[in-house]
């Protein structure tokens, strides 16, 4: 398994190198890689059935987190892996011809190969984190492929939409998987699904619900289905591969994988099955009335995915068997039809169904491939489509589900006719390009896959034994006797099949009445999830602009307000609640010098605040500085006082020099603004004052400064303790301080001299 993954990953990453060497022939050679993988997988499948049907590999990764690179191969993952590599080989081959002469082909094939590896990773993974990693990679490669024609806005938008929808689902999935893993005590899917105590865990249903969201977005279930039709912006090979036969089935895969565990949850029968049925219905109805080949097919893909989801939701062995057959049938015929749509588009330049006709003479092989696939899609015997439909009816769960299934079957007949038959029969119509048969690289895929649809049905017992039974057993988590038979006799299912067919023919013939019948549903879709998505995106856009305009207003004072309020609400709040007021007992007495000094400071502060003249404000600031210096003198800090004096003098000089160049004060703020600011400033004053007071008495531990006094002379040989601290005990601070000073000087100089884009031009 790991060998196959590595092979495809390396092949993908080296694609540009191959292209440099082989040019447009590269794709046909690269297709051998998935083909080889397919053969290897067939071999593994053959040998596996002998040894209990499961094959595990585990490599250490992050043991501290119980992360291992563990992979498992059982019937279910084998079926998916065969589809991925088998269809993949044809699609890669096809892409070479599709992009013949187009330089973007290299990029396309590279991403396609990487997608293939990621998708295989999803179905191989046993560790949930490994699964998630590959899951996200499929989303991302899908983004790149949908946006392949990135110069078109529609393609970019569709790519973004698919990425966001599946990405959002992915995050739900991650949360769900993590909760599930935590509840189950293991990250290994193989042990989680056999954990019988897990369903009793209080978070079990929540985890399953989260995982379901992930699976539903990926598999385009209502209401997340809308991204898939839009994803048809991708080149046809990508649509055939990712958006019909493989990636969109990842959600179905996940549901099938978790089936043994999931059926224990009420969500399974009450949510999964109804959502699946709803999707089955919606997709089918919406398909009716589509006129573009690929969109038409896309809606039936949605519908088919709904069908598979519904079947898994039923939770019965019969339903599991039906789901597996349906899945296989759908993958084969839908990939074919998409590839055919790509051929038609490529060769004739037409995407509109009504402008096509009579192509069978021009492209006989393509017509044959399309016909085979269409027959299977219609559910005619002897095809897989027929088998799938019979089993679907057999897995019946009541009238509502049954009628939805029949109704969807009717539309399937219609769509199969419109896409697989209609363009090739009737009168030939003139198209944009004259149209001729595609190269074998392109029709080989539809031909083979369409042929397989019949072949696998004809040899139903072999298919049943080697493909369906192991997969269904893996879904159910227990060995079950499963046999596949093409002919059941004249039973109820056959009658229903005939009814479906009849309705389908009616739908083809009576387009107008039928479409009128279902038009409310299509019209309701206009206000459906696609519109919600757009509205949501727009809402986020506008909301964030509005919010940011309020928050990031550009007003410095608003920012300061925000900070101050934050402090008052956190620190201030705790201060009021938790800090006891120390009282006035231990106060130092106030002498007359203190009083004079403090009064002077009050006056100076008032002056600085109120003065209308710049010089007066600066003078007040100077007085504050000198006043503080005097406090330092009074309270045993002569060095500090000296420094303060010098610095204050320098500051004042600088201010005066600078203000010489600046305009006079102007009264700008409004009265309410000043009142508001004053209130805030008062609160801050009270808070800081009270804090200072509380701290000066709130000593919890005695200061460490005795050490400096004791060691200043004896060990550091200095008489001035403060100076000794600065140059010796805490010399690092002083180093930093000098650095700051130097940088400031350097910066001021540079700022004054260097003016890029200014009037004076640059420096030296």
């Amino acid at each position: 398994m790991i060998g196959i993954l590595t092979l495809l990953l390396v092949g993908g990453f080296l694609t540009p190198l191959f292209y440099r060497r082989w040019g447009d022939r590269t794709a046909s050679r690269l297709a051998l890689l998935p083909a080889l993988s397919f053969l290897l997988l067939v071999g593994m499948g053959g040998s596996m059935s002998g040894q209990g049907g499961i094959h595990l590999i585990s490599l250490t990764w992050i043991p501290e987190l119980n992360f291992t690179l563990s992979f498992a191969l059982d019937g279910l993952s084998l079926l998916f892996a065969l589809l991925i590599t088998g269809i993949g080989a044809f699609v890669v081959w096809y892409s070479g011809a599709y992009f013949d002469g187009d330089p973007t082909g290299c990029r396309f094939v590279m991403v396609l190969m990487l997608f293939m590896a990621s998708m295989l990773g999803v179905v191989f993974a046993d560790h949930v984190i490994v699964l998630f990693i590959f899951w996200e990679l499929t989303s991302f490669t899908s983004f790149l492929l949908i946006g392949h024609n990135h110069r078109e806005e529609a393609a970019r938008k569709a790519a973004l939409q698919a990425l966001l929808v599946t990405g959002a689902g992915g995050l739900f999935l991650l949360a769900g998987l993590l909760i599930l893993a935590r509840a189950g005590g293991s990250y290994e899917l193989s042990s989680l699904i056999t954990n019988t105590s897990l369903p009793a865990h209080p978070l079990f249903n929540e985890a399953i619900a989260l995982i379901l969201v992930g699976a539903f977005t990926k598999s385009a279930q209502v209401p997340f289905h809308f991204w898939l039709p839009n994803a048809m912006q991708a080149p046809s090979p990508a649509s055939a591969y990712l958006h019909s036969s493989t990636m969109v089935k990842a959600g179905v895969y996940l549901l099938a994988r978790l089936h043994p565990l999931g059926v224990e949850s009420w969500l399974w029968s009450d949510v999964v099955a109804p959502i699946g049925a709803l999707t089955l219905f919606t997709g089918a109805v919406m398909a009716y009335g589509q006129v573009y080949l690929k969109r038409l097919l896309a809606y039936t893909t949605v519908s088919a995915l709904g069908g598979m989801t519904m079947l898994i939701g039923f939770g019965s062995p019969a339903a599991a068997k039906a789901a597996v057959v349906f899945l296989l049938a759908h993958a084969l015929y839908k990939a074919s039809l998409f590839l055919v749509a790509g051929i038609i588009d490529h060769e004739t330049g037409e995407k509109h169904i009504d402008r096509l006709g009579g192509l069978r003479t021009l492209m006989p092989w393509t017509a044959l491939g399309a016909g085979l696939a269409a027959v299977s899609m219609m559910g005619l015997p002897p095809t897989l489509g027929f088998l799938g439909k019979e089993l679907l009816y057999a897995a019946d769960r009541g009238l509502v589900y049954l009628s939805i299934s029949v109704l969807a079957g009717m539309f399937f007949v219609y769509v199969a006719y419109r896409t697989g038959v209609r363009p090739f029969v009737g009168l030939h119509r003139v198209t944009q390009k004259p149209g001729h048969e595609a190269p074998p690289a392109m029709w080989a895929g539809p031909m083979t896959l369409g042929g397989l649809s019949i072949l696998l049905a004809v040899f139903a017992s072999v298919t049943g034994k080697w493909i369906v039974a192991p997969a269904a057993q893996a879904v159910l988590g227990e060995p079950t006797a499963i046999k596949l038979v093409l002919w059941h006799g004249w039973n109820r299912e056959l009658m229903l099949s005939l009814l479906t067919l009849g309705l389908g023919v009616a739908a083809i013939l009576l387009v107008r009445p039928v479409s009128r019948l279902f038009s409310p549903v299509s019209r309701a879709a206009v206000i459906g999830p696609d519109a919600w998505y757009r509205a949501g995106l727009k809402g986020i856009q506008q909301g964030s602009v509005g919010l940011t305009r309020i928050l990031q207003s550009g007003y410095l004072r608003a920012y300061i307000d925000s900070i101050v309020l934050f402090i008052l609400l956190t620190a201030g709040w705790h201060f009021l609640g938790k800090v006891p007021f120390p009282g006035f007992a231990e106060l130092h007495a106030v002498d007359i010098n203190d009083l004079i000094l403090v009064s002077l400071l009050f006056v100076a502060i008032a002056g600085a605040l109120l003065s209308r003249s710049r010089m007066a404000a600066i003078a007040s600031l100077g007085v504050i500085g000198y006043g503080i210096a005097l406090i330092f003198v009074l309270y045993g800090a002569p060095d500090l006082a000296m420094t303060q004096m010098v610095i204050e003098t320098l500051t004042v000089i600088l201010l005066v020099l600078a203000f010489y160049h600046l305009p006079k004060f102007a009264l700008r703020s409004s009265r309410p603004a000043r009142i508001r600011d004053f209130a805030l400033a008062t609160a801050v004053a009270l808070f800081t004052g009270a804090m200072t007071y509380a701290a000066s008495f709130g000593e919890i531990a005695p200061p460490i400064s005795w050490f400096y006094s004791e060691n200043s002379w004896l060990n550091a040989y200095g008489k001035n303790v403060v100076n000794v601290i600065l140059v010796d005990f805490r010399a690092m601070d002083t180093l930093g301080e000098i650095t700051v000073l130097t940088v400031a000087a350097l910066g001021a100089m540079a700022l004054l001299k260097l003016r890029i884009g200014g009037q004076k031009g640059g420096g030296s």
């Binding site: 909301g543 938790k578 006891p580 701290a695 919890i700 460490i704 640059g762």
Partner: protein, 497 residues
Amino acid sequence: MNGLLIAPVLLPLLLGILSLLLWHHVRAQRVIAVAGTGLLTLLSLRLLIGIYRHGIQVVHLGNWEAPFGISLAADLLGAIMVVLASITGFAIALYSVGANERQRECFGYYPLVHILIMGVNGAFLTGDIFNLYVWFEVMLMSSFVLLALGGEKPQIEGGVKYMALNFFSSVIFLTAVGLLYGVMGTLNLADLAVKVRGTESTGMLVVIGCLFLASFGIKAAIFPLFFWLPASYHTPPPAVSGLFAGLLTKVGVYAMIRLFTLIFTPDLVHLHGLILGLAALTMVTGVLGAAAQFEFRRILSFHIVSQIGYMILGLGLFTPLALAGSIFYLMHHIIVKTNLFLIAGIVHYRFGTGELKSLGGLYKTAPWLSLLFLIPALSLAGIPPLSGFFAKLLLVMAAVDIHAWGMIATALGVSLLTLYSMTKIWNEAFWKDAPTPPPPARTDQSTILMMIPVILLATITVVIGFGAGPVFRLALAAANQLMNPSDYIHAVLGVSP
């Protein structure tokens, strides 16, 4: 070992002085910058390896025993941060040489970069709260000058706000330090940790904790204190914004983690719930701010804010796994964010604009740059298996462990919006056709040299992603050191608490 511990501070100082002496020799300054930061990276890596093998390293400067002198103490977190700072410095030095901003280089650009790194490293290594303040100032002063250097109008306007609010933050820091000394009588972090654990009356400590939270919160740019960042980070030359984006806010985050694991622990002050709330609001307002922007570097600036939320989310959750997530996030983010700013710079140099409206067609004209953009951009959005995925995964796992559902929803939702933002840039600048008339491509300057650091950082991003195991082991070891402060205390004070 002692030399190695001091080197991250002293080497940049020496480089700075040397560059100052060679004022007129820009060429020589360039050589010194690249070689010096390269050497610094090697030395700091050796320091990290040494600490990983032998435990926390401490140097008492001037041989004055702790808590009386200033001690440098490097645990794993500190050493990791120093390594990241050095790598960023190295990348920026290379990039600056390539960017060739001659005028700025003549006016002390390189000395300033060295001094900035000195300040940052000092902050990461110091074991003393006031010394931390001093290093913050060294870092901030150099950043003020670097931000304004050149004197272009947006630089000056952004500079005013940057300076004003950061100065305010410093005053709050100083206030908190003053109060802390007033009640605890010591400045050494380990000594503070010991004394704080012995006290009953925690009221004042909570208040002081809030003040530190505000001060570091401004520097780390958390909600509602981040406004200086989006106002200024897009204005200086790309190399400078890359340096700032990578390092400056993370010093704030580091300081927060350090203080709120060592001193203001949850059992002592109940502020971690508040931190969680702030983390969520920071993530959301940041990412919405980014959604509202249509200029390359402005989008990225808001994303810094948003990402800071994730980093302090781990601190708020306060489990070993959560802290390991935060540390993993720091490692991932510094590399990725610096890189994105550098790439935005290359785009700016080549097309003269960062407005998404006037950009386009880069996918065609600059395919390699496109690929190099995708790596950090997807990593930032958390696409596996790149570094950002594991960073977010660890935090979400930690949140699952303690059933913090709101946090999980926020973290995941914000990561989706981040993906949206990155795709927006991708669609507009890279995928969309160039508008007509196309922006005038500047041919006077080659951006080849500037690609080297971008490639280097992108490689590191990929390595962190694919080597998530060993990187996580390192982060977890660092987190365990933080969760058990007794090792740190013992290493610094020589006694067990």
